[in-house]
Symmetry: C2
Subunit: 336 residues, 2 copies
């Protein structure tokens, strides 16, 4: 059965396009507070699990060894927009581990921010691997390898100890086996394991509550969350939802977007995690549906990231991006 | 009922994202050769009907008066990528009508082509309205207004004679009423009227066969089609499907993409038109599904626009964009 329509895009009197998807909201136990659509089939979380991928950086002692504070840890959990501040910090992390941009395996791409991309073009510079939105994560992975005396070459491959530790952390916290049948490769070349949305939602509930985590891990996770709340700019960048919302409501929500329409997050005060996937991967729908969900739990989030209007190139509004009545009804029915 | 999945995006062993949509293939009579999904609800054709929007430019005598040949007519039908060649030709069209870029109402946007956009940034130039992919269409509309002694101001508004003529041409050829209940505003500020895919498919079949058109209109349409086949670069630009496929197979296919997942076209030798809409508006799915359809009719189109692979930023293929088995089965069942 098709997932329901979560977001509608209108133009004039008609719905022009629509986006289907699924949402799970879960307690740490796995008890679901909400399920919309298929929350049982595996979904690649992509960058939404960067906070989990950063756990070995803390647990290995590498972060302490190289003096990585909240800023460096936040960047390791982030999908940054490629500004000078982000690239400089990623470079500094590599330098402290005795490495340079050349050690990265994430590949280069234009800065996620069109403004930063344009600035780079205007300066006649090509993007480097430091501009890759994942360069902080990769710098953290490399630092961990160096700290533990492991080879840095091929650190992105599934059989490298760096990725095996990430695999084990994900499997342990999620409680599901993550075998070859759910293993894909992310755009930045590291493995990514697909999990049901209901599992991702419970996993994020565990992160913010510490429930089901051994004490050292709960402490490492706490340090990661606090780092992101203290440095929301480094988790994403100017104008991005993760940055805007966590800056306004630190400690009240942890959230992280992933490619192809994924969002994961959790509400510490409610002891609930959420995971969302837009079937078609559209960013406009991912952001819209996630903000509708967040605003249901945290009314103070209203207006922080207004749904985009559909405008002409002269700036006249001719349509809207809006929650479907199905999504509104489901969220209204939630006990909050 | 949900439209079927037409395109799947895989990563590793799993389908990561999918795109639903609907397709109609029709004879000029409206007899359907294929219907997939909902072909009865109105869909905004957006830029896919630029060839129809250009008919008054010919029928009014404006094209002849200003010496617009196949190149100018093709640009009026095109969604160009904003290269120097495209912007210069649009500027020349305006100049012949005694106007300049300032008369345009389409608004400015970065060139559609990332290469052209980067070149503009590197030259420290902001995009002008000439870079708008619709500037050729707008130059043609303005030339028509000047030729007929109409005001140029507000030529984009629904009640201006320029748009009323476009409305009447669309309503006459499609055979359906196009009232306020299906009238939206396109990104370039002109009105756009939604029609069922089955109607759009029949409309495009009429364009390439001339069936049901009065002789003068059939002649004007023929001139438009020949102009596009002679100048496929001006209909879109380097690397774009409309350009690549019509350059390889002029006279065998007419095709035009529209925003939000629309494609329309026709096969003169088969006397059939097609119209397709991806529900979520994703370009990657629109192009993929359209090429699968075209290749079924024209095997020579195979390989012209291969479906994009999903690659890491280091260029390693880690997934595919492919037709769904539903789309493949439906196309295989077509009598061609």
């Amino acid at each position: 059965m098709a997932n329901p329509i979560l977001i509608e895009v209108t133009r004039g009197p008609l719905v022009e396009s629509c986006h289907r998807g699924a949402i799970a909201i879960s307690a740490p136990s796995g008890a679901l507070a909400l399920r919309i659509g298929d929350v049982d089939s595996p979904v690649y979380p992509r960058s939404a699990v960067k906070s989990l991928q950063a756990i070995p950086l803390i647990e290995s002692g590498a972060a302490d060894h190289y003096g990585f504070g909240p800023a460096e840890i936040a960047l390791a959990c982030g999908s940054h927009i490629g500004s000078e501040r982000h690239t400089a910090l990623a470079a500094a992390m590599l330098e402290r581990a005795g490495l340079s941009e050349a050690a990265l395996g994430c590949g280069a791409h234009q800065p996620l921010s069109p403004v930063e991309a344009r600035a780079l073009s205007e300066a006649h510079h090509a993007p480097t691997q430091l501009h890759n939105n994942c360069s902080g994560k990769h710098a953290g992975m490399l630092a961990t390898a160096v700290h533990l005396g492991e080879p840095t070459s091929g650190y992105w491959q599934p059989d490298h100890p760096v990725q095996q530790r990430v695999h084990d952390v994900l499997a342990e916290i999620s409680g599901v086996p993550l075998g070859a049948e759910v293993q894909g490769t992310d755009g930045c070349s590291v493995p990514n394991w697909a999990m049901p949305l209901k599992v991702l939602a419970a996993t994020f509930a565990r992160l913010v509550t510490g429930e089901g985590l051994k004490p050292e891990r709960a402490e490492a996770v706490r340090r990661i969350l606090e780092a992101c709340w203290a440095n929301p700019d480094l988790v994403a960048g100017k104008g991005r939802a993760d940055t805007v919302v966590m800056r306004a409501l630190p400690g009240q929500i942890f959230m992280k977007t992933g490619a192809e329409g994924v969002y994961c997050g959790a509400f510490p005060e409610f002891g609930l995690g959420f995971a969302l996937k837009i079937d078609d991967g559209a960013k406009r729908a991912t952001a819209g549906a996630t903000m509708a969900l967040i605003e249901r739990f945290l009314p103070a989030a209203r207006g922080l990231m207004p749904l985009s209007a559909i405008k002409t190139w002269r700036g006249v509004e001719v349509g809207t991006i809006r929650s479907s009545s199905k999504l509104e009804d489901e969220l209204a029915g939630l006990k909050v």
